[in-house]
């Protein structure tokens, strides 16, 4: 047995090695980029997060960093301001991501239907907001939300309704609205392109069996584009945890919005005075995002066999 498999294995190993040597030059550009803009900064942040700004007295001179292990992490995890910023993106994610994805899925299914007219027009229309840079979208919505400038607020006031988009309790929803507006079309396109790859014979077979319209979409198409939906969900979770553009722009018209509203804003707020804390905050956020994505993958994978 062993005598016959050994040479085979050897040959296979040789082939693999050859494939690898051929592949290496093609991988170098990616590997270099990955190394320089991802791995090295990550290690640098990890390293810095283990040190503390070492000061004493009035501290009017450059500080001497001290190694303090995980003390920055303990400080950050017990900091109510940072933890509430984490809670805020969690809340926004739990509400906004499902709403947006359901919307994106329904729109994608609708555009994919044979009976729909003006497909191309609606496809572009829904996708259009994504083409706008996030900051521009934020500025536009700021104008629509601003208590003293907004035409919406003014119109509502004219008929006796007082609208307030920028008070503390409403702000998360105002932000969710901007995010949904900007990203639904993008997610719709991903799901839609996945729908396009479903062979038409399957839908024809279903139609012969009497399954048509929305029912057919739900029972056949949705399960078939599940990977695309999971992909958009993970992207959305990551995007929400890294929320930055929208609240920062909105702060111009809503000064009550905290300068540490989201974890990234919080990390940036201490960047110059206390880089080590910022590093710890970034690492915690990265771990949080990784954990969320992993949990989501685990949950969605479990269901597969029952199908």
């Amino acid at each position: 047995m062993s005598s016959t498999t050994a040479p085979k294995r050897k040959r296979a190993g040789y082939m693999e090695r050859q494939a690898l040597t051929r592949a290496i030059p093609f991988m170098i550009p990616f590997a270099l980029l990955y190394l320089f803009i991802y791995l090295i900064p990550l290690c640098y942040a990890l390293y810095k997060s283990m040190y503390t700004v070492g000061r004493s007295g009035l501290g009017i001179s450059a500080p001497e960093p001290k190694f303090t292990g995980f003390s920055n992490y303990i400080n950050v995890l017990t900091d109510p301001v940072f933890m509430s910023s984490m809670g805020r993106v969690l809340l926004i994610g739990l509400i906004q991501v499902p709403v947006m994805l359901i919307l994106a899925l329904v729109l994608a299914l609708w555009i994919d239907m044979r009976t729909t007219v003006g497909k191309r027009f609606f496809r572009i229309l829904y996708f259009l907001p994504y083409a706008l840079p996030g900051v521009i979208a934020g500025l536009m919505w700021s104008f629509l939300y601003a208590p003293s400038l907004s035409p919406i607020v003014k119109a509502a006031e004219a008929i006796g309704i007082h609208l307030d988009f920028t008070s503390g309790n409403v702000l998360p929803f105002s932000i969710m609205n901007i995010m949904t507006w900007a990203w639904t079309g993008y997610n719709m396109i991903i799901i839609y392109s996945s729908l396009q790859s479903i062979p038409s014979e399957i839908m024809e077979a279903a139609a012969i069996d009497g399954l048509t319209g929305w029912k057919a979409s739900w029972k056949i198409k949705v399960p078939m584009v599940r990977p695309a939906i999971i992909l958009t969900a993970v992207f959305s979770i990551i995007g929400t945890a890294q929320l930055y553009n929208e609240p920062v722009v909105l702060k111009g018209v809503a000064p009550n919005l905290s300068s540490q509203y989201t974890p990234i804003m919080s990390a940036l707020s201490t960047l110059t005075s206390n880089y080590n804390t910022s590093a710890a905050k970034s690492v915690i956020l990265a771990i949080f995002i990784g954990a969320c994505s992993a949990v989501f993958f685990a949950v969605t994978r479990e269901k597969e066999p029952t199908k």
Partner: protein
């Protein structure tokens, strides 16, 4: 890699050639001071300068057209509190910072505490030193070491709509008591008008505390004392909260377009701010040109003290390779007529140097203020600025926390005093984290 080096080298040499070309074509003006005259004839030393104040760019051009030995390379960056300071500090860490940076006096201690400034005492000649009052040097010094050259100061005054105060038959208030009474009168006449706007910008607010002698920071031996929430500060905070509650003060966000249009269309009738507010009004509330006037800042009973906001020295950033030339350029900018004129014209800066204060442009009327010679007001007021004000070492933290709190006043999620309390709390907490001695 070597290719990149070569490319950069050719880039640098061609740039040097361009500069040399510029230098030879410009008329050889008086070479200022003695200083490093060795390189005067040959290649000019390039000094990079980052800032955002209006008129700086034109000042740099004026400098370059009169100097062969130094080339000032100005780059417009976003204003300090909006990210400019972060950019400077990061650049110092990365080793590619400019020699000169606009660092507001309120953030100067912050930069020192981060070790981001270069001591330049030895390069500041006596003839430069004597052109500034001692108070100006105080804002750029620590332990008898100088770290920058003062440019302007931010003496405060009352900017008001002369036409509208007249319309509502309101006399220009001289005390805060009269100010409040004027506000009540206005509110009664038209509840949709406001006398003033409560700033959400921490530094704009700081001027009111400064005037009242309500200090935020002080030192006792080797320990910082943070007193943002003491009784003196509570008095000022409660006064402003009272204005908001009575509908006298509006709550537009600082720097927002909504405030600009409220100034322009007469929704907000006055602004109590630093002299450079004139420049902001002139550019952001153009439509109301000719209708404004300036009076001294309203005072508290029993004191004629005035507040100050800002004033931005040109600091020499750590790692500067030509500090001597950087000081020479900065000193010229702050004292020479050709350098100061665009800053005064565009940004309504009030020069820190006595030579600057004596320029003829300082005696001219400004069109926006109906031809009023506004600098006469500020010149008289600047002598009354409360000299005992100390900034803290972590102003980025302090100002962000205070700004957040002030922003909550408009939505009634907090009061002005709450804002001060939370800013004090955040500041002390961060100071403790970093190991400062604080109480």
């Amino acid at each position: 890699m070597s290719k990149i080096n070569k490319l950069m080298l050719t880039g640098v040499t061609s740039m040097a050639l361009i500069f040399a070309g510029c230098a030879s074509s410009s008329q050889p003006a008086q070479t200022p001071s003695e200083g490093g005259s060795s390189s005067a004839a040959s290649e000019p030393v390039t000094i990079d300068w980052w800032g955002w104040a209006p008129g700086y760019k034109e000042a740099a051009e004026a400098f370059n057209s009169s100097h062969d030995n130094i080339k000032l390379n100005f780059e417009q960056i976003t204003s300090g509190s909006q990210g400019g300071y972060d950019k400077m500090m990061t650049a110092v860490d990365a080793g590619n910072a400019p020699c000169l940076g606009q660092v507001g006096s309120e953030t100067f201690v912050n930069f020192l505490a981060q070790g981001k400034l270069e001591p330049i005492t030895q390069y500041v000649k006596d003839d430069v030193k004597s052109q500034f009052p001692d108070a100006a040097w105080k804002t750029v010094s620590l332990n008898n070491e100088i770290y920058g050259i003062p440019v302007d100061s931010g003496t405060m005054g009352l900017f008001y709509r002369a036409d509208l105060l007249k319309k509502y038959n309101i006399d220009v208030p001289t005390t805060w008591e009269e100010f409040k009474a004027a506000g009540e009168k206005l509110h009664k006449a038209d509840p949709k008008k406001y006398l003033v706007n409560l700033p959400t910008d921490a530094y704009n607010y700081s001027g009111y505390a400064w005037q009242a002698g309500a200090s935020w920071f002080s030192t006792e031996g080797d320990t910082w004392v943070v007193s943002m929430a003491d009784d003196a500060n509570k008095k000022v905070a409660d006064y402003w909260q009272g204005l908001v509650d009575a509908g006298i003060a509006s709550t537009f966000p600082s720097w927002d377009a909504a405030l600009n249009s409220a100034w322009a269309d007469g929704t907000v009738l006055t602004e109590v701010g630093a002299v450079w507010t004139a420049g902001i009004l002139e550019s952001e509330a153009k439509d109301s040109s000719g209708k404004w006037a300036v009076a001294p800042m309203p005072t508290w009973e029993g004191s004629d003290a005035v507040g100050n906001v800002g004033g931005s020295p040109n600091a020499v950033l750590k790692g500067c390779k030509n500090p001597e030339q950087a000081v020479e350029a900065a000193a010229w900018l702050s004292t020479n007529e050709a350098g100061l004129t665009p800053m005064i014209k565009e940004g309504a800066l009030y020069p820190a140097s006595t030579t600057g204060q004596e320029l003829s442009i300082m005696k001219e009327g400004r069109e926006f203020f109906g031809g009023q010679k506004i600098y006469e007001v500020f010149s008289a007021e600047s002598a009354k600025v409360n000299p005992n004000w100390q900034w803290g070492p972590l102003m980025t933290t302090t100002s962000a926390a205070l700004g957040d709190g002030l922003g909550k006043v408009s939505t009634k999620e907090g009061t002005v005093y709450d804002a001060l309390k939370s800013a004090q709390e955040a500041t002390i907490k961060e100071m403790n984290t970093q190991g400062y001695s604080v109480k």
